[in-house]
């Protein structure tokens, strides 16, 4: 009897070990095309379900929406600063919420019209950079056009993060919190928090004395991050790291791989295959929502001078279950025909929604177009350690 129990126990332990080993080394790798499919179109204007646009300025560029976010249900939040509001719109184009952001505009005394400057509407003084929507509040990273002042705060020559809850807005000076970097970026953390990170010139990195980042919660409380813990800012949200070798004396990455570590233990939770089989790439940005990572990158032949096309690669990585997807997007001359030039300060035209889809916005002649990337998988490879099984779909 005892022997039987021992055998069962051994088998159970072996099965358990195999299960854990399998789950940590099994990866599904998919490849194919990702076509941006129209998701939602908001016409230009000031009506209930329209968004504001002004221009062209200097005969070519427009001023209008620059940042948006998408929630778990696929509802879109768009900063419509010319109409001084943030709209929550569903896929059908119905407005579900209209949040007034008039408090962000400070132009009573200084109308923003200075000699030689462009004659723009007052609302154009606000320059949104990035919007992150959580269960409780909205975080808006923004700055102001030069010349815009506020009597209470003095010059608004910085980058600010505003925490917006219904009509209540709390504004923090992000550059002051980070002790004066060149640029400020905002990313999502778990528990309704965001992290502000910075950009400083390479020559300043060795003498930089300021913080690495600042965490802001939904009440506007801040926490300085002096050191990262296993690439994590808060010790809870895993951080993404791009492992690479510098390609020759350029800014390109060779043998680039995505790595995610467990914030607590430092154990590697996810390690991707080398992107483009190790060939040099250039990163256009990495988005991460604690479950899924999306990386946009280009290769050395992405720009085709002859046929005027740009090929961008979209790599999608799921942590649980482990999957890797590699898609390509090609934009050519004919795609640009109905596209207006973007605003000069375009910041977040690609967004990884909380619903797991990847979105982007384009200024079309008729209105603002939201597209969702619908992947079309052509091959799938199942990989367990060194064992590979590839399946093809349709024509490659």
């Amino acid at each position: 009897m005892k022997r039987k129990i021992a055998i069962i126990l051994v088998i159970f332990v072996l099965l358990l070990t195999f299960f854990f080993d399998f789950s940590s080394h099994f990866t599904r790798v998919s490849a194919g095309k990702a076509e941006p499919v129209p998701y939602l179109m908001l016409k230009w204007g000031s009506g209930e379900n329209e968004v504001g646009l002004s221009g062209p300025y200097e005969n070519f560029w427009y001023f209008g929406p620059a940042t948006f976010d998408v929630d778990k249900e696929g509802n879109v939040y768009i900063v419509d600063q010319l109409n001084k509001r943030i709209l929550k719109v569903n896929k059908k184009g119905e407005v579900l919420e209209n949040v007034n952001i008039d408090k962000l505009f400070h132009y009573e005394k200084y109308p923003g019209s200075f000699p030689g400057s462009l004659s723009m509407p007052h609302a154009a003084n606000l320059l949104p950079i990035n919007l992150i929507v959580t269960n409780k509040v909205m975080f808006l990273l923004h700055c102001y056009r030069g010349g815009c002042k506020n009597e209470e705060r003095g010059d608004l020559n910085s980058i600010y993060v505003s925490i917006i809850k219904d009509d209540d807005i709390k504004m923090l000076d992000a550059k002051e919190l980070l002790e004066g970097p060149i640029g400020v970026y905002m990313d999502r953390l778990v528990n309704n928090k965001i992290v502000l990170t910075l950009s400083i010139p390479p020559e300043d990195e060795s003498v930089w004395k300021g913080p690495k980042a600042v965490i802001v919660d939904d009440e506007g409380r801040t926490q300085i991050v002096k050191e990262l813990k296993n690439e994590s800012f808060d010790g809870i949200t895993p951080g993404v790291k791009l492992l690479f070798n510098r390609y020759k004396d350029t800014w390109l990455y060779e043998n680039a791989r995505i790595e995610v570590k467990d914030p607590e233990t430092g154990r590697t939770m996810f390690l991707s295959q080398p992107l483009e089989n190790g060939a040099p790439i250039d990163s256009l940005g990495i988005s991460f929502n604690s479950r899924k990572i999306v990386m946009l990158y280009q290769t050395t032949d992405s720009w085709n001078e002859e046929i005027k096309t740009v090929t961008t690669h979209i790599a999608v990585f799921n942590l649980h279950p482990k999957t890797e997807e590699n898609y390509t997007m090609v934009i050519g001359e004919e795609d640009r025909e109905n596209i207006l030039p973007p605003p000069f300060y375009y910041k977040e035209d690609f967004v990884l929604g909380e619903d797991g889809y990847y979105y982007h916005i384009l200024y079309m002649k008729d209105g603002l177009l939201f597209s969702r990337f619908e992947p079309e998988v052509s091959t799938t490879t199942y990989q367990y350690r060194f064992i590979k099984f590839t399946k093809s779909f349709g024509k490659n």
């Binding site: 056009r145 930089w208 800014w251 280009q298 375009y346």
Partner: protein, 324 residues
């Protein structure tokens, strides 16, 4: 009646005496003592600060500022004449250039000694904006008697190569507004006066003590800066080439402190000039007087440039060189 007149005269005399006394009191010379800055020169790049001590003999507010060597001590503007790209006489006016408006402002009690330390930063641009090498002045202003303002010179050592100093100096202009359209011949850090794109690029060069006797030029005139002209000592710039990719990610010619000349496709000539500052994973950063931002701003090359401008032509100031 006589008594009344005598009383009035007496009152008048008393008022005169009081006025005379108050004149003596208010016009008394305020002694202000300011020590030499220490250390001098200093190196803000390694975290050094330079400190002065001061005392006044009469209690009042005292303000300490930093001004650069181009500042007229009487705060007047300066006008430089030059020959423009069309070989016509032209002029540009510079206004006062306060680098840091308030290092310290304190209610100084007469006879007490106070100190003020400057870390080499300017008002604009934040921590990444350490002033470049050169001479600056502590300007110590006794606010009740500004005529007795004291200037004490302090030197910042060149703590890096001159191409980097050029970028540093450009950053001391960050947030200067507004963007002024070409043709307005004023260049100023003062709020509300501002600069155009070429005035900014050229003035930063002039601030590094190079003899470029014009403050702005048409962007299209950048070619002229590469040849010897009547502009007083050219050529100033050397052409490094033209980028072959429309995507700044794949620029191969550009190095730090290069000047980008942007050819506007619909107009058929150069309409914008910017300074390349650095590149990281976000792309190449530029600093420029931006019409869209309405101020001097440092940012990644805006994505809209791809559709509006041709690939940039790349230049560098010969005396300054270029970076990595």
């Amino acid at each position: 009646m006589k008594n009344k007149i005598q009383y009035m005269l007496g009152l008048f005399e008393a008022i005169i005496i009081l006025l005379a006394l108050s004149f003596v009191v208010t016009s008394s010379v305020y002694a202000i003592t300011v020590t030499n800055p220490s250390p001098n020169p200093f190196n803000p790049g390694s975290g050094q600060t330079s400190t002065i001590s001061f005392s006044v003999d009469s209690t009042q507010y005292v303000k300490v500022q930093i001004v650069n060597q181009f500042t007229s001590f009487n705060d007047a503007s300066k006008t430089y004449s030059y020959t423009n790209v069309w070989n016509s006489p032209d002029a540009v006016t510079y206004y006062r250039e306060v680098v840091k408006a308030t290092v310290k402002r304190i209610y100084a009690v007469g006879g007490q000694t106070y100190s003020a330390a400057w870390d080499g930063t300017s008002d604009k641009g934040g921590t990444c904006n350490l002033c470049q090498r050169g001479m600056y002045y502590f300007k110590v202003i006794p606010e009740n008697s500004p005529a007795y303002t004291v200037y004490k010179s302090v030197n910042i050592t060149q703590w890096n190569s001159s191409w980097l100093a050029y970028i540093r100096q450009a950053r001391t202009w960050l947030e200067t507004y507004p963007y002024v359209a070409s043709g307005a011949n004023t260049v100023s850090r003062d709020d509300g006066k501002g600069t155009n794109c070429t005035g900014f690029v050229a003035t930063v060069f002039r601030e590094m003590e190079y003899n470029l006797y014009y403050g702005n030029f048409p962007a299209d005139g950048i070619n002229v800066l590469t040849t010897s002209t009547s502009w007083g000592g050219g050529p100033y710039m050397q052409k490094d080439g033209k980028e072959t990719s429309s995507d700044p990610k794949y620029y191969t010619v550009t190095k730090q402190s290069n000047i980008f000349a942007w050819w506007e496709l619909t107009k058929g000539y150069f309409t914008h000039v910017t300074i390349a500052t650095y590149k990281n994973s976000n792309g190449w950063y530029i600093i420029h007087s931006s019409s869209a931002r309405n101020k001097v701003y440092e940012e990644v090359i805006p994505s809209g440039y791809k559709t509006i401008f041709d690939k940039p032509t790349v230049y560098h100031w010969i005396d300054i060189g270029r970076g990595n």
